[in-house]
């Protein structure tokens, strides 16, 4: 049985080293891409006009972040399903109108 020469051993070690470097580089690239993607997603959601949440959503208070909130449940101001109508003809009822005014 022939023993490998010292030069072929060196080549084998070099190839093994290069393989490990390639492997580590691949992982580094994958991890970096993941981190960059996550950071980009966070930044995108924080930019004005880019948020998926209402622009007026408050930040949480500095204290008791897990148990307290100053935000009520809200989906914003809601328009009526039908707007007011002008009175085109005399009302069908004899009842006087209800007054809406400030108090």
């Amino acid at each position: 049985m022939r023993r490998p020469s010292s030069s072929s051993l060196a080549i084998a070690r070099r190839d093994l080293g290069l393989s490990k470097v390639r492997q580590m580089t691949t992982w580094a690239v994958v991890v970096s891409l993941g981190v960059v993607g996550a950071v980009s997603a966070v930044l995108a959601s924080e930019l004005p006009g880019r948020s998926s949440a209402p622009a007026t959503t408050p930040s949480q208070p500095a204290t008791s972040p897990n148990t307290s909130t100053n935000a009520g449940p809200s989906s914003g101001l809601q328009a009526p399903s039908s707007p007011p109508s002008s009175v085109q003809s005399p009302p069908q009822t004899s009842a006087p109108p209800v007054i809406s005014g400030a108090s």
Binding site: P54, A55, T56, T57, P58, S59, P61, T63, S64, T67, S68, T69, N70, A71, G72, P73, S74, G76, L77, Q78, A79, P80, S81, S82, P83, P84, S85, S86, V87, P91, Q92, T93, A95, P96, P97, V98, I99, S100, G101, A102, S103
Partner: protein, 302 residues
Amino acid sequence: MVEFPALGSTAVVASHPKNLLDVAVKVVEEEVAAIDLVCSRFRPDSEIVGLNSSAGQWFETSPLLFEALRVGLAAARNSDGAVDPTIGHTLQLLGYDRDFSELDSSAERPPLVTRRVPGWRKVQLDPERLRARLPVGVEVDLGATAKALAADRAAGRVARVTGGGVLVSLGGDISLAGGPPPGGWLVRVCEDHRASTDAPGQDVTLSCGGLATSSTTVRTWLRGSERMHHIVDPETGLCANGMWRTVSVAAASCVDANTASTAALVKGSGAESWLERHGLPARLVALDGSVRSVCGWPEAGR
């Protein structure tokens, strides 16, 4: 239709069909009494007085006060801070420190300075334990939203209990629930809810949702020689001083309508575009009395 005193103003209740009126009135009276006991700044036994005097520590609330606080904070968020419940101390500085009928214009008061109100974001709510915490020095006033909340709660409850239609007006802020009468509810939109039915204004019909009117011409008082009103600009801590004197808004609820009408007075020149962005039909009366209609509010003379 029945009228009776409520929350320092007048309640009006109407039902469809009319034979539901007695039940409707009873429900409205109960809701009004409950909200008054919880949210009145001028009752020493009210919960909100207890909350305001406990600033700096957690305060256990009733479900109704918690709901009123959540609604008040949601109004602040939905109005970009224009309707801020942390104006309690500011209102006192402006002279509104007791029941409106007992205000004293001659009392000695310090000069007014521009100072932003503490801000609604500093109020903490703990929904799991039904408690709230105000920072030291902060007092809340829910006058802008509690009345509207009471109207919405009462109208919704009447409709659920009776299965009929109801109109509840508390101080001119109107909530509708259930089926309306044929042709809708007839409402005259004026600047003052105490106006007579032939006062300047506009008749409209409504079938659902809420309608609220806010004005700088009503609930005014003298602070020395200076006239004050109760619409506070949170940015300055002073009376709002925009280009509109009265704004009426229709929305899906009385709370949303009241939030928007108050916010529009504070926002001034930016009010029209803001209302359009939210799709809220509104009638705006300028300081000179001219009227603007936006977002589908029917055009008419004042």
